[in-house]
C-alpha cells in the first residue's frame, strides 16, 4: 500500500513538473506541449478509432512475428542442443548475428519484400528469434546434470526424458528467452512499422512527425510504453513468479 502511494506521488510529481515546464513557455508548445494536449490527442485517437486500429494492426504484427520467432527459435535451440557440429558452426554464427541491431535488417527487408507487412514481420523475426535460441542453448548448458541423470535412472528415455525431465528442467531459461524475445520483437516492431505504410502504432508515430503534431507523437509513445509494460510486467512476470514459487527461487525481498 505504501509502495503504491509512493509510486502515485512520483508520477503526480512528474506530471506536475511537465505541466510547469510547458506553462513557463520556455519552448513553444509544438516542442513541449502541455499534458492536456497529449491527453486530448489520446482521447481523439481513441474516439476516431485511429489508435484502436493502430493497436490492432501492431498486435497482429507482434502475434505473427513473435509467434514465428518462438517456434523458429525453439526449433533452432533444440537442433543446436542435439548436434555438437551445428552448435560449433551455426551456434557461433547466431551469436555474432545477435549483435546486429534489428533496425539494420530494415534495408535488406525492404529490398527483399518491398514496403509491405512481410518486411515488418521479417525484421521482427530477425530481431527476436536469436534471443529465444540463445536462451535455450544457455538453458541446456547450465541445467544441472543431475536432473537428466536422475531421470534416466528412474527409467525415462528419449521422448519421455525430453518431455518430462529436460524440458521442465530448462523452463526457467525458456521463460527468460521468451521474455527477452518478446522485448526484442517489441523493439523491432517499431523499427519496421515506422518505415512502411502499415497503419500500426509505429506508423502513427511517424505520421505525428510528418504533421508536426507533437501531442500525437507523445501520445503514441505513452501508449507503446504502457502496452509494453502491461505485457512484460503483468504477463511474463506473473508466469515467472509462479515458476519461481514452485521452484523456490523466490527473490530475497
Amino acid at each position: 500500500m505504501k509502495r503504491a502511494a509512493r509510486q502515485f506521488a512520483f508520477y503526480a510529481l512528474l506530471l506536475g513538473a511537465w505541466w510547469l515546464i510547458a506553462r513557463l513557455h520556455i519552448w513553444p508548445p509544438y516542442i513541449v506541449p502541455p499534458p492536456v494536449d497529449v491527453y486530448n490527442a489520446l482521447k481523439d485517437g481513441f474516439e476516431d478509432h485511429s489508435l484502436l486500429i493502430a493497436i490492432g494492426v501492431s498486435s497482429r504484427h507482434m502475434l505473427l512475428g513473435y509467434g514465428i520467432s518462438v517456434i523458429l527459435g525453439m526449433f533452432l535451440g533444440i537442433s543446436l542442443a542435439a548436434s555438437q557440429y551445428l552448435e560449433e558452426t551455426v551456434g557461433g554464427l547466431l551469436v555474432s548475428l545477435q549483435s546486429m541491431p534489428s533496425i539494420c535488417w530494415l534495408p535488406l527487408a525492404v529490398l527483399w519484400f518491398g514496403l509491405s507487412e512481410n518486411a515488418i514481420l521479417f525484421v521482427i523475426v530477425m530481431g527476436s528469434t536469436l534471443s529465444v535460441t540463445i536462451s535455450m542453448e544457455t538453458g541446456r548448458k547450465q541445467m544441472p546434470k543431475i536432473y537428466s541423470m536422475a531421470g534416466r535412472n528412474l527409467g525415462a528415455r528419449k521422448w519421455n526424458l525430453f518431455y518430462y525431465v529436460l524440458l521442465p528442467a530448462s523452463m526457467p531459461y525458456i521463460i527468460t528467452g521468451l521474455k527477452q524475445g518478446w522485448a526484442f520483437a517489441w523493439r523491432s516492431l517499431f523499427a519496421g512499422e515506422m518505415l512502411s505504410l502499415s497503419l500500426g502504432l509505429g506508423q502513427r508515430l511517424n505520421a505525428g512527425r510528418d504533421n508536426n503534431d507533437m501531442p500525437q507523437v507523445i501520445a503514441v509513445m505513452i501508449l507503446i510504453v504502457a502496452i509494453g509494460y502491461i505485457v512484460d510486467g503483468w504477463f511474463f512476470r506473473s508466469v515467472e513468479r509462479r515458476l519461481h514459487h514452485k521452484w523456490g527461487l523466490l527473490p530475497s525481498t
Binding site: Y147, M149, V165, A169, G248
Partner: protein, 292 residues
C-alpha cells in the same frame, strides 16, 4: 587380497552349475557381480586417468554393502557404472547373472544432492518412476502414499521440494527410489550433507526400511563409522586408481548405533587401514594446489 580372483572364478562356476542344474546350485548366486571393472577417463590436461582398476566385488541379495574410501577413489563412479549411467572401459557388471548395458529401474541411485525435481510436488516426484513404467494413475497414487508413509512424509505430499528440509528431501529421494521397486539401491553419500541428528534418524529409518523391504543396498560413504553402523560388509577402496583394498564383514548385532563401542572399535580398525589412502589423497590435493 590375492584370493579375490579365485572367489570370482568360484562364483562363476557356481553360476554355470546353476545353469546346468547341479546340486551345488542351492548356494544363492550373487545379486550383483562386478568383474574386472575398470574405468579410464581423460583428465583436463588430456592425460589418461585410471579411476577404477579391475574391481571385483559380489553383493548377495538382501545384503547391505558399504564402500568407503578417500575422495577421488572412484567409489561414486562405481555406482554410476552399476546404474548404467556410465560405461566401463573394460570389465562388466552382472545383475542376476545378466550383463548390465544401460540404466534400468531394477537399480536405482540415490544421489548426495538428492536429484529431486523442483518442478514436481513430493507426490509427483515419488510416482515419477512408476509413470515412466506406464503404471496407471490410480495405482501410482496408492503406491506413492504407501511409500510416503514409510518415510513419514504423507503430510507433505503436495509440498514442493524447496519447502522441505535436507533430511526430508533425502527421505523423498528414498521413497522415490523404492517406488520403482528396484532390486538394488545405490546410495551415493546420501547423508553427507546433513546435520548429525538428522543423519542419526535417517540411519535408523534406512535400517528399518531395508529390513522391511529386503532390498540389496550398495552404500558409498567417506564416513567409516557410518559404514560400520549400516553395513553387513565394508569394502575399503584405495586412492586413485580405485581398487578394493580389503573387505570387512561386520557381524555386530542390529539395531546398531553410531555411539556403540563395538561400532567405534571396528570403525577405528578400518580407519587405520584407510589412513594411508586418505594421506595419499590429501598429498595429491596439496600438490595440485601448489601447481595452481
Amino acid at each position: 587380497m590375492s584370493a579375490t580372483p579365485n572367489l570370482v572364478e568360484e562364483v562363476l562356476k557356481q553360476e554355470q552349475d546353476h545353469a546346468s542344474g547341479s546340486p551345488r546350485a542351492t548356494l544363492p548366486a550373487p545379486k550383483l557381480c562386478l568383474q574386472d571393472l575398470s574405468l579410464h577417463y581423460r583428465a583436463a590436461d588430456r592425460s589418461k586417468l585410471l579411476a577404477l582398476d579391475k574391481i571385483n566385488l559380489q553383493v548377495s541379495a538382501g545384503e547391505f554393502l558399504c564402500i568407503v574410501g578417500p575422495s577421488g577413489c572412484g567409489k561414486s563412479t562405481l555406482l554410476y557404472l552399476i546404474a548404467g549411467l556410465h560405461e566401463p572401459s573394460s570389465g562388466k557388471v552382472l545383475m542376476d547373472g545378466k550383463v548390465v548395458e544401460r540404466t534400468g529401474t531394477d537399480r536405482i541411485m540415490i544421489f548426495q544432492e538428492h536429484g529431486l525435481f523442483p518442478w514436481l510436488t513430493v507426490e509427483e516426484n515419488v510416482e515419477f518412476g512408476m509413470k515412466m513404467k506406464g503404471i496407471k494413475k490410480a495405482e501410482r497414487r496408492e503406491q506413492t502414499h504407501e511409500y510416503l508413509k514409510m518415510v513419514h512424509l504423507q503430510k507433505f505430499q503436495k509440498s514442493y521440494i524447496h519447502q522441505l528440509s535436507g533430511g526430508m528431501r533425502q527421505r523423498v529421494a528414498i521413497a522415490r527410489a523404492l517406488a520403482t521397486e528396484p532390486d538394488v539401491l545405490l546410495m551415493d553419500e546420501p547423508f553427507a550433507a546433513l546435520d548429525a541428528q538428522t543423519r542419526d534418524l535417517l540411519h535408523d529409518e534406512l535400517e528399518r526400511i531395508w529390513a522391511k523391504t529386503g532390498r540389496t543396498i550398495v552404500f558409498v560413504t567417506h564416513n567409516v563409522r557410518e559404514a560400520v553402523r549400516l553395513g553387513d560388509r565394508v569394502a575399503v577402496f584405495t586412492f586413485r586408481p580405485g581398487r578394493v583394498k580389503r573387505e570387512y564383514k561386520i557381524d555386530l548385532p542390529r539395531p546398531r548405533h553410531l555411539e556403540d563401542a563395538a561400532v567405534a572399535g571396528t570403525a577405528r580398525e578400518i580407519l587405520n587401514d584407510l589412513r594411508e589412502e586418505i594421506d595419499k589423497s590429501l598429498a595429491a590435493e596439496y600438490e595440485s594446489g601448489v601447481q595452481r
